[in-house]
């Protein structure tokens, strides 16, 4: 049993159902006067039917042309992966509050350590240098409005 593909198809069916429902709520209209919900409903319906067809084909031939679950999820450093994703979400949330400089230095400190253990002073110098270069590129070069944060920088 290849659970990954089963879950994937069910997920897309769920998304499709949500958009079809949303489309109906917005108002489908009619074919000669389509309303705002027309396209979301139509696109959701197509997505749902395709996912359903993929699920049916998979169930009939037991996903024999697809990779095994083990093959897909083997050799993944879950710790590194989840830590990176979590860090990025935290950075996104704290970016405006802490400001560009502090949040970016903190993010780079962790990211440089995640891949390969290096000495802390190397990581610290690299993080500060990188943050400085990015500041120059985005703030000075591209004139971006980077957040200053509560400390003012």
């Amino acid at each position: 049993m290849k659970k990954t593909f089963l879950i994937s198809d069910l997920f897309w069916i769920g998304i499709a159902a949500a958009f079809c429902y949303g489309g109906i709520q917005l108002g489908f209209g009619s074919f000669h006067s389509p309303h705002a919900g027309f396209m979301p409903f139509l696109a959701g319906l197509i997505l749902g039917l395709l996912a359903l067809a993929d699920l049916a084909i998979g169930l009939v031939n037991r996903w024999k042309e697809d990779k095994e679950d083990r093959e897909i999820w083997a050799n993944i450093s879950w710790g590194k992966l989840l830590l990176t994703v979590a860090l990025l979400f935290v950075y996104t949330i704290l970016f405006s509050t802490l400001g560009f400089t502090i949040s970016t230095i903190l993010l780079l400190l962790f990211l440089f350590r995640v891949m390969e253990p290096k000495r802390w002073w190397v990581v610290a110098v690299s993080s500060v240098a990188c943050t400085g270069l990015f500041y120059l590129a985005f703030k000075v070069g591209l004139d971006s409005q980077l957040p200053r944060g509560f400390l003012g920088f």
């Binding site: 990954t4 593909f5 994937s8 897309w12 998304i15 499709a16 958009f19 949303g22 917005l26 009619s30 074919f31 000669h32 389509p34 309303h35 705002a36 027309f38 396209m39 979301p40 696109a43 959701g44 197509i46 997505l47 395709l50 996912a51 993929d54 042309e65 697809d66 990779k67 897909i72 999820w73 050799n75 993944i76 450093s77 590194k80 992966l81 990176t84 994703v85 990025l88 979400f89 996104t92 949330i93 970016f95 405006s96 970016t104 993010l107 780079l108 990211l111 440089f112 995640v114 891949m115 390969e116 290096k118 990188c130 990015f134 985005f138 591209l142 004139d143 971006s144 409005q145 980077l146």
Partner: protein, 504 residues
């Protein structure tokens, strides 16, 4: 004679110091992102899009175009020397290019890739000059039904040519359409799926979606991989191919150019598909197909020529019809709209300096790339030695700040992260991101064309079959959906054949 005058106008625009400078910047960045795995031209273009707000429309399009075709050049370097394609369109170059490098022939492989790219790029530009003006006259006959059917055909071609299951590629296209409906309805002005988030009223941004699907997801995948890079630096010598090499490659370059150019024009086509198809055809027509995969120079010349010719060809549907044929062109569409220009049949008559300036800059850019890629190969090789542990935080930071700087909004960064995670799972399940992004871009245009057509026909779908251009497009699109259902054809589908024979 008129064409000649337009070309003179084009070169007078392209050779202006500021435009020349932006062309140079574009091709350098393009080569750089082509060389570096994990950061492609789409991510680089989306990153630099905000930077073009302050420049003239011509300069910004020249720079963004330079990134695209520059990446095609740069991608070959990593494919040949490291066996890691810097770009998806360089995947086929790995097969024979890397084998040539292992045999001590990295120099001629890099040389023929650069010369092939230059020749293809040059012929591609000539093709653009000849084809674009008549196509503009043809495009003026298009109404909403024709536009809708052409966009459907483009999506079908893209899903048909993808290497994964067609049904899943279609699913991803449908997902793109669904995501494209988020935001204000173009006709009634009603907010759809915005959940009271002001940033979502304008719809989900293209840049966060692209950066998430192509940038962040690639980095997340690379975190788990332990790829050992073996760079053939000691043997990069003799970049000029010998007469024998030229004799073997010249027809491959010619075939690759023609195939690439026409696949580039086709809505849904592009550099990736062109390189795959040209490699497959080259192997078929060769008297020694057994040499392919073992270091045949034709296996480098054909896909490298094809991907460059396709890069030039794909500008045609955007500039003449206003329809992007692939994700990169969708980025350019965004750039044109930001500058208040409407791509389509009127662009050529209303802004000739933009169209011909960009065309001429491609020629200048191709010459610059030849100069950049051959003598500076050592510098690009040094870049390949940068460890991934240093590269990946930098790529992530580029994506984060790039997404933020579009609207100075953390919501865009959050959207990018969500699409990064979705993209990671999509890659794990071999679900293609390209049909999704193209459908996402085309979705709002398709919706408007569909609704306008239905209002015009009082709800009758026969309008799409009553008009010849629309009917032809839809018949082809239907044929592309039906064909994979035939068992005989399933075995011969281009993506399927390539997957079995070569990519593995």
């Amino acid at each position: 004679m008129e064409l000649f005058n337009y070309l003179i106008l084009g070169f007078s625009v392209a050779l202006q110091p500021m435009n020349l400078f932006y062309c140079f910047i574009g091709v350098v960045i393009g080569t750089l992102v082509g060389v570096l795995p994990g950061l492609g031209p789409v991510a680089a273009m989306s990153l630099l899009l905000p930077a073009t707000y302050h420049t003239s429309p011509v300069a910004s399009i020249i720079m963004l175009s330079g990134i695209y075709y520059g990446a095609q050049y740069g991608g070959s370097t990593t494919s040949i020397l490291v066996n890691i394609p810097g770009e998806a369109s360089s995947v086929m170059t790995c097969i024979d290019g890397y084998q040539m490098a292992r045999k001590g022939r990295a120099g001629p492989a890099l040389g023929i890739a650069a010369f092939g790219s230059f020749i293809a790029g040059t012929i591609g530009i000539l093709g653009m000059v000849l084809i674009a003006p008549p196509l503009v006259d043809f495009a003026l006959k298009f109404g909403p039904p024709e536009y809708f059917s052409l966009m459907i055909l483009g999506l079908m071609i893209l899903t048909f040519l993808t290497s994964s299951s067609m049904i899943r590629a279609l699913m991803m296209a449908a997902l793109g359409l669904v995501v494209g409906t988020i935001g204000l309805d173009n006709i009634s002005g009603l907010a759809r799926f915005a959940f009271n988030i002001p940033e979502l009223l304008d719809g989900v941004g293209l840049v966060p979606v692209v950066m998430g699907l192509f940038g962040i997801s690639e980095v997340l995948l690379n975190i788990e991989l332990k790829v050992k890079r073996e760079v053939f630096t000691a043997k990069v010598e003799g970049l000029l191919p010998t007469l024998e090499d030229w004799g073997k490659s010249i027809w491959s370059i010619g075939r690759g150019t023609v195939i690439g150019f026409f696949l580039g024009i086709l809505p849904g086509g592009g550099a990736v598909i062109a390189s795959f198809v040209s490699y497959a055809i080259e192997k078929r027509v060769s008297k020694h197909p057994e040499e392919f995969g073992k270091g045949a120079i034709q296996g480098v010349a054909a896909p490298e020529s094809a991907n460059n010719a396709a890069a030039q060809g794909s500008f045609i549907p955007l500039m003449t019809l206003g329809i992007p044929s692939n994700v990169v062109m969708a980025m350019l569409l965004g750039a044109l709209i930001i500058h208040g220009l409407t791509p389509g049949p009127l662009l050529l008559s209303q802004n000739p300096e933009l169209f011909w300036g960009v065309v001429a800059s491609m020629y200048v850019g191709n010459a610059l790339l030849l100069a950049l890629n051959l003598p500076l190969i050592g510098m690009w090789v040094q870049l390949l030695k940068v460890p991934y542990s240093i590269l990946f935080p930098i790529i992530i930071l580029f994506c984060l700040l790039g997404s933020y700087s579009i609207n100075n909004s953390s919501t865009d960064v959050l959207i990018m992260m969500v699409f990064g995670v979705i993209g990671y799972f999509m890659k794990k399940l071999s679900l293609e991101a390209a049909p999704m992004v193209l459908a996402f871009v085309l979705g709002p245009m398709m919706e408007t064309a569909l609704r306008q057509s239905l209002i015009k026909s009082k709800g009758s779908f026969s309008i799409f079959f009553a008009r010849p251009i629309s009917a032809i497009c839809l018949i082809f699109a239907i044929a592309l959906v039906v064909m994979p259902l035939l068992p005989w054809f399933r075995r011969r589908r281009p993506g399927a054949t390539l997957e079995q024979d070569d990519v593995t």
